[in-house]
Amino acid sequence: MATHDATVAFPNTGEESLGVANGKLGMWTFLVMDAMTFAGFLAGYARLRWTDGSNWPMPLETFGPVGIQLTALNTFILICSSVSIVHVLAEQLRGNMVAARKWMGVTVLGGLLFLGIQGFEWTHLILDVFPAVIENGLNPNFQGTFLGLTGFHGLHVSVGVIYNLILYLGIRNGKIQAEDTSVIEIAGLYWHFVDLVWILVFTFVYLI
């Protein structure tokens, strides 16, 4: 089995449980808990939206095609930052820490760009779109769930940017070496989770 082969080739030298490094198991445990929080948000959103007579605005009409395309661009940026962080790990595995640092820089930039566009979008929605939703007598929970879901996700992106920035500095200062793959892999798990959740938020809140 591939995993067994790799374990023989690259034996764990740190503490481990279930045959997995404790740090990684800890991150997975956190992500499971976090995913359930997002599940609660999304299930609550579905409940509020599809209750009879909810008078829920159609997201496509409310955000408009430009708004949807801007968010699609943001999704694309997050996907790009996801592929850049796996390249950090791939470069680290072959000992190329200079390239790994550059890819981590790209990941941080991607996160910052995502937050910048989200900030722009929020400003536009709060100032121009949401007041019109209230004036038209549509369900105000639309704004509440939108800001709650995207804001909670944005908070995760912010934490991820800080996390990745710390790792970037660690690589630059030589504190993270080529053999410290777990450190990058654990950070990658968090960042991919942020991307994964956004895929669902984008679909349910913007597209459907």
């Binding site: 374990t7 690259f10 764990n12 045959g19 997002f38 409940r47 592929v83 991919h192 994964l196 679909t203």
Partner: protein, 117 residues
Amino acid sequence: MTTNDATAATTIKDPEGGWGWLGIKGLYTQYMWVWLGLLIFTAIEVVIPEPATFGLSITFSRLFVVVSLILIALVKTWMVAWYYMHLIAERPAIILVACVPFIFSLFLTIGMFPWTF
């Protein structure tokens, strides 16, 4: 500082192999194909609800739009989890742990959904 971990090494068995996606050295082939797949799915997701915006004369039923968008989102999340989060090479125990929130959210959504129509 923790050191080598099995999963990362499993995904990239030969750290020097698998590079050079479409002739661009410095890009890891498997990751880039997944990236391209995610990109194409995202483009399809944007077109399905509003094909007219992109000059297409077809219209899809609401049921088709909802079902197809949910399916595409699930495929995309699976791609990220399987290839980028390395579940492809992970131990079964971790795969099971990763499945827990999915099952939880499924029950939660079904339980909370207002089945009145």
